[in-house]
Symmetry: T
Amino acid sequence: MSLEFTIPGLDETASEKAIGILQERLSQEQAGALVLKHAHWNVAGPNFIAVHEMLDPQVNEVLAMADETAERIAAMGGSPQGRPDDVLRFRTWPKFEETGRKDALDYLRALDAYYDTWIKADRQAVAELDDLDFVSSNIMQDHVQKLEQFQWFMRSHLID
Amino acid sequence: MSLEFTIPGLDETASEKAIGILQERLSQEQAGALVLKHAHWNVAGPNFIAVHEMLDPQVNEVLAMADETAERIAAMGGSPQGRPDDVLRFRTWPKFEETGRKDALDYLRALDAYYDTWIKADRQAVAELDDLDFVSSNIMQDHVQKLEQFQWFMRSHLID
Amino acid sequence: MSLEFTIPGLDETASEKAIGILQERLSQEQAGALVLKHAHWNVAGPNFIAVHEMLDPQVNEVLAMADETAERIAAMGGSPQGRPDDVLRFRTWPKFEETGRKDALDYLRALDAYYDTWIKADRQAVAELDDLDFVSSNIMQDHVQKLEQFQWFMRSHLID
Amino acid sequence: MSLEFTIPGLDETASEKAIGILQERLSQEQAGALVLKHAHWNVAGPNFIAVHEMLDPQVNEVLAMADETAERIAAMGGSPQGRPDDVLRFRTWPKFEETGRKDALDYLRALDAYYDTWIKADRQAVAELDDLDFVSSNIMQDHVQKLEQFQWFMRSHLID
Amino acid sequence: MSLEFTIPGLDETASEKAIGILQERLSQEQAGALVLKHAHWNVAGPNFIAVHEMLDPQVNEVLAMADETAERIAAMGGSPQGRPDDVLRFRTWPKFEETGRKDALDYLRALDAYYDTWIKADRQAVAELDDLDFVSSNIMQDHVQKLEQFQWFMRSHLID
Amino acid sequence: MSLEFTIPGLDETASEKAIGILQERLSQEQAGALVLKHAHWNVAGPNFIAVHEMLDPQVNEVLAMADETAERIAAMGGSPQGRPDDVLRFRTWPKFEETGRKDALDYLRALDAYYDTWIKADRQAVAELDDLDFVSSNIMQDHVQKLEQFQWFMRSHLID
Amino acid sequence: MSLEFTIPGLDETASEKAIGILQERLSQEQAGALVLKHAHWNVAGPNFIAVHEMLDPQVNEVLAMADETAERIAAMGGSPQGRPDDVLRFRTWPKFEETGRKDALDYLRALDAYYDTWIKADRQAVAELDDLDFVSSNIMQDHVQKLEQFQWFMRSHLID
Amino acid sequence: MSLEFTIPGLDETASEKAIGILQERLSQEQAGALVLKHAHWNVAGPNFIAVHEMLDPQVNEVLAMADETAERIAAMGGSPQGRPDDVLRFRTWPKFEETGRKDALDYLRALDAYYDTWIKADRQAVAELDDLDFVSSNIMQDHVQKLEQFQWFMRSHLID
Amino acid sequence: MSLEFTIPGLDETASEKAIGILQERLSQEQAGALVLKHAHWNVAGPNFIAVHEMLDPQVNEVLAMADETAERIAAMGGSPQGRPDDVLRFRTWPKFEETGRKDALDYLRALDAYYDTWIKADRQAVAELDDLDFVSSNIMQDHVQKLEQFQWFMRSHLID
Amino acid sequence: MSLEFTIPGLDETASEKAIGILQERLSQEQAGALVLKHAHWNVAGPNFIAVHEMLDPQVNEVLAMADETAERIAAMGGSPQGRPDDVLRFRTWPKFEETGRKDALDYLRALDAYYDTWIKADRQAVAELDDLDFVSSNIMQDHVQKLEQFQWFMRSHLID
Amino acid sequence: MSLEFTIPGLDETASEKAIGILQERLSQEQAGALVLKHAHWNVAGPNFIAVHEMLDPQVNEVLAMADETAERIAAMGGSPQGRPDDVLRFRTWPKFEETGRKDALDYLRALDAYYDTWIKADRQAVAELDDLDFVSSNIMQDHVQKLEQFQWFMRSHLID
Amino acid sequence: MSLEFTIPGLDETASEKAIGILQERLSQEQAGALVLKHAHWNVAGPNFIAVHEMLDPQVNEVLAMADETAERIAAMGGSPQGRPDDVLRFRTWPKFEETGRKDALDYLRALDAYYDTWIKADRQAVAELDDLDFVSSNIMQDHVQKLEQFQWFMRSHLID
């Protein structure tokens, strides 16, 4: 990787490491948005409309996260990779296996598990970015905060 | 494919055929949105800000198209497939090969070619849907109309 | 029926036939709005608030459809009949029998059946209007598209 | 009539009487909205656009009144009846006989007469509700206030 | 209690009595807002998101009621007491005992009971204020009307 | 006074009495709006901007009251008198004597006294209208409620 | 008249003359707003709603003019006189004599005549202010421009 | 005519024919907007304000139609001709002969006739475009639908 | 030319002269709007989207200017001529010759020249109107101010 | 305390400690909102309206802080305690003792002292949360930032 | 100074003179915005919040004035100088000497004096621009009008 | 430097150090806003409109940063220095030397260099503030994040 430029005061090595971390987070955010939309379309059962409508703002928030992550990569001198094949190429997390129209609670259970690996990876990224670039770390901290609230929404449906 | 239900007055065979056509269109729309966003992040050169800003509303329009296509599949009794692997699984069109930060006109040239195969496939879908379900056909006709305007925007930059 | 005027380029016989078809659709749309509001007021049970709120935008959309249908009748030189007795006089579909405050899913089941006859009749009207006046047909095609999405919302609650 | 519940501090007999009064008012409000829309579509002559546009906000206000009346019935433990047949079943006022496209002033004259019986019945309901439930009475007092302003609009056109 | 001033035309004794009644209502409204927010945070189960979102506008409406009640006390020459200890000091109604994250229907049942004593006390206040100050009575009548609608929302979930 | 028409269910004598009461209230509201604006322009001193801005919304509210009062007169079959000479002709309250640019607290003191006679007269009107027409009474009750809040604002500045 | 201060660069004599001119214009604008509102309430006949609604924005514009004129007087060091008696005290134009509910065209004819004297006086003021203070002149020029457009609206109804 | 490019899947001959049809429609839409504005400025008589205000949204809608038509020509590879001389050069319909300030009904009569030739030509264009390009046909169908509603507004004033 | 009426205080001869000047300005503004829209549709090259979007607000501003000019003619008692033939009939400036899709800078060069004659003529009109009617002059001064800013936008692209 | 679940990557002990800290902060925020509203109602004197209006946005901001704190507790697997008794039960700071209507500066002095203990406790919480959970710490850091600005507003009034 | 171009109809010498005048005004407007913001941050005492909030809209208005002045210089063919050193280089007025946090009235007194020299210089500029370019003069006349109103706000606080 | 007060829990020495750092950042932000506006006015060439419009939101964001920095200084007990001379007095960075109307890319190159020193200084400030006050550090971290995105916009134009 050769950077176009670096941010004033940040050395190139640190920038490249941070870009590597952010690129993987970008792919997971893009994947997450597709998965949430997939669930938005396929949920069913007595809670259909409530869960269907709950998921859409999450999709929009996650798309905005991906945009912010990608533009940070670019601001650091890198080139964000965001095509469909890139999403799969950088995948280090399990696929989302739920398909077909079925009860909303089934989807929420599967999404809850999906968020588990996502949030863990994001928190790991924050820990690594802390030593490389505080702006990148701040960006990921904000994303984690929102994802943890979304996961709470999902988990709340599953408490009995 | 076994449907959950059919639309009153539409027979199941026609519904299944239409769903098959729409599923492929859905995947291309999801792929198209990723590709346009990828370009949004990577364009550069003297026309950077103008082209960067031109692409974002196109992304949003294409995401709205995908949502409408997927919800039509569901309304017809099918189950839309929208996960990252689904996007690749249903791909019948060439990948978008442009990467790296480079001049906006290079990206516009590549996107122009990408729209060529997209619009052709959408117009083919319209022709086939005309005999199966007028609502599905109307939906795709509206998508084509917008995509052709977006392609005109791209082509306009390349006229000399 | 003697028309006040005809649309330039449309002959009077075709106009009168189209008006007859649209008048019956108008009555069903007015009846449908009343029935949906009746359900909005009477649904109950654990899904009360979600279904109660889902039905209101449908009422508003159906009222807007009735307005568009009626103004098309008038634009074609006819006089739309929209009083309470007119709604019953043009009725060719079964009454909505569900009453009393009861579980939302019971109402959704009854509304699902109500939409069956409504959509079938609208699709029949589209087929007949295609040969008479493309504007009237386009209007009904748009109404069908929305009603089929609303029915999907209802059916989604009933999938298990 | 057996109520689902009663409002804290209101006895069941008073609640049932109030519900009976409100149900008839609900039907007249639903009928009134249909009649005003019917007039909105059929007015003609030199004052067409001004009267056509004046009636639409009245329709919306009357639909909001019906919603408020029906939800009060439900809050008191009753079940509002709002289907097309219900509107006719509870009718205690004369039909609206004006039909066909004709001069706006003719329609305003007929609507003026229609409001006469409506307002009288609403004021009678207020008098009876005063002893049963102040909230129900307040709701109907607000409806009367608006209807009397709307009737003033109509009467103002007829002064010479 | 010595008043700063009295409203023109209202004698001081009546004002003091009305202020006493309003102060207790103010405390219950402040307590009610805290309790509804507490429920908003702790509801769970399959209806989580729908009930969670239904409660927030109620909190805002009740906070607006408390503001109106307190400013009426001040307008009558009194000094509204609104600190945490004041809320408990003026309490004449049972505590809300539900705690912990549990099914939304359990919370709705407890809130339904909480509204019972609240609405009864408000209606009693209206009866007493009628002889003291019509403005204060009108304010409390409007509050009762809204609370009775909110209780209907809660009760509707519990009908089977 | 001979009325153009009467409200359905209201006899002519009661209507004429109510109109007489409302006409005087209308003139005081029009006068009040002029006086408040006069103060808005002439206040000065350390509290200038805060008091200057506090008075403007009061002017707008009072103008809206006058509009409502006048349209009620018209709805009852009367003719509202609203020209400059009419304002003086119906005056039964003391002139506002404060002039010149001077300290805001001086103006607030004078306005406080002006509101005293205004509110007293409005409360007297409510008492008389109660037996004539509940809608007219309700309108004036709402005006009183707002004026008493405005006076509280003024009085609050004068407490030490 | 002794001024509180003068605008930097404007001598006191010119300021006092300009203030005298503006005070009379202020009174006419306040009177004009009352007269237009009076007409708004009393117009009748087949054009009722159209003319009733046309007059309200004129009232608001004229009230804004009066505010601007008064604040200019204050900015020049004067004290604007805006109480009901002030409006009559500075009157140099004929009263508006039209009363009672009657045909809109009768009112438009009377208002047309009222605008004649108003506009003539405003244009005269502009001529005098041109030599005293360009800001005051600009303010009145803008007022004239709007009043001439409003008069055109009125005159347009009277062309046959 | 040599095109810059063609829409993917559309052959050049069909594109050129469609462009020829659309260019004439564009000129009529530009002419129509000028004519409607001309009428907006010159209508007079008792219905002045109502008709004056009714025409302005029509002008805006027709300008938006022209924009859509022109951009379709460009998207198909053509170059829209929109200068004043172009409007006359492509004119195949009669001039609008009404001039001078005169009664609104006279203008509505002349506009009604103007719409007759316009709508007939648009419907003819739709029939021809159906075989050439469904997007161009859809665009013109939407324009026809709106124009027919506008003509209904005009005709409604002329019914007696 | 015989005027319907004159503005109070303006003599008929001056009015007629001013109307003659304004009519020519009106035609140029209508022509200018068509020409700018023509350029909006035909610009191309690397700056396409930026220039395409820059021109649209200019079109809207110029259309608003034409509306203001025409309504001033009417307010002065004249009849504005705004049909397509009128635009050509009053033309005293060179045609806009640029056609076909070509580089945005070519169009900006041609528009810059077009603005030269336009602004010169407008400034000449201001000089003549100064002696006839200050309101007409003010209107044209505002138009000139905006056009000179628009021309600066165009010229800025051409500086190297 | 037994948690419903923990955030992925956070151990249960750290979560419980953080929840304990946040619960006390929640109670202080709820108490603070009540106290600020109490002051909003009771301030008086020459600065009444300015201070009265300054406090309301602070109340809304503090209510939003409490909501965020409580939902963080729930997202971490805890159950936020928000009833009136809970507010007192978790109180570790001095009561607010100011009562009665008195000069705004007296209230600002008392609020300034109240903020002292609040901000100190919040800053202490940030220090402890830093080692437990960065999201919880970030949330409290944002709250501190706003509270310190609000305190600055208060202190600014007290500088002489 | 050599200009890039001149406005059509304006000779180069007049343009250069006007640009010289406008450049100095631009610098004073930029300086004024900094000074007002400086005061916004440093005012204190019992009127803190009211004066703090009054100054912010003035800052925004003055920044908009500077933008308009600078773009006029550019439209006339000049190059506006707006860097920090430019602001001091063109300074012909006394520095603003007030610093430190102190009573709002002290700042208002100092700002009142600052406006004195500013307004005087602006009025002088208007007098000189009148002979050079009416558009530049109009722009400065509008700026003066607003500044004189702002100074009135300041002076109003200082009247006793 | 002697502070008016300190933030609860922050010692005076740390506060004074932080204020010293923030004051220099404030001056650079004020200088930066002037420089960006200077560029906004002077850019030219084929990318004029796109770059001209890109810079304005940056100016507004930087002005908001300066406001936040200054109010933080005040909240910490200091007095922000924001007059034109203060901006120069605290300058530790090179002047912006670009003047005259010239190609946008030339300005972007100069601004890119200007941002280099700005961002480096801001990042240095963050490092120092981390040990003094986390709120001040957070504020500067947010400013850096935005400035780095703005610099990316500039650099993107310069990539070839």
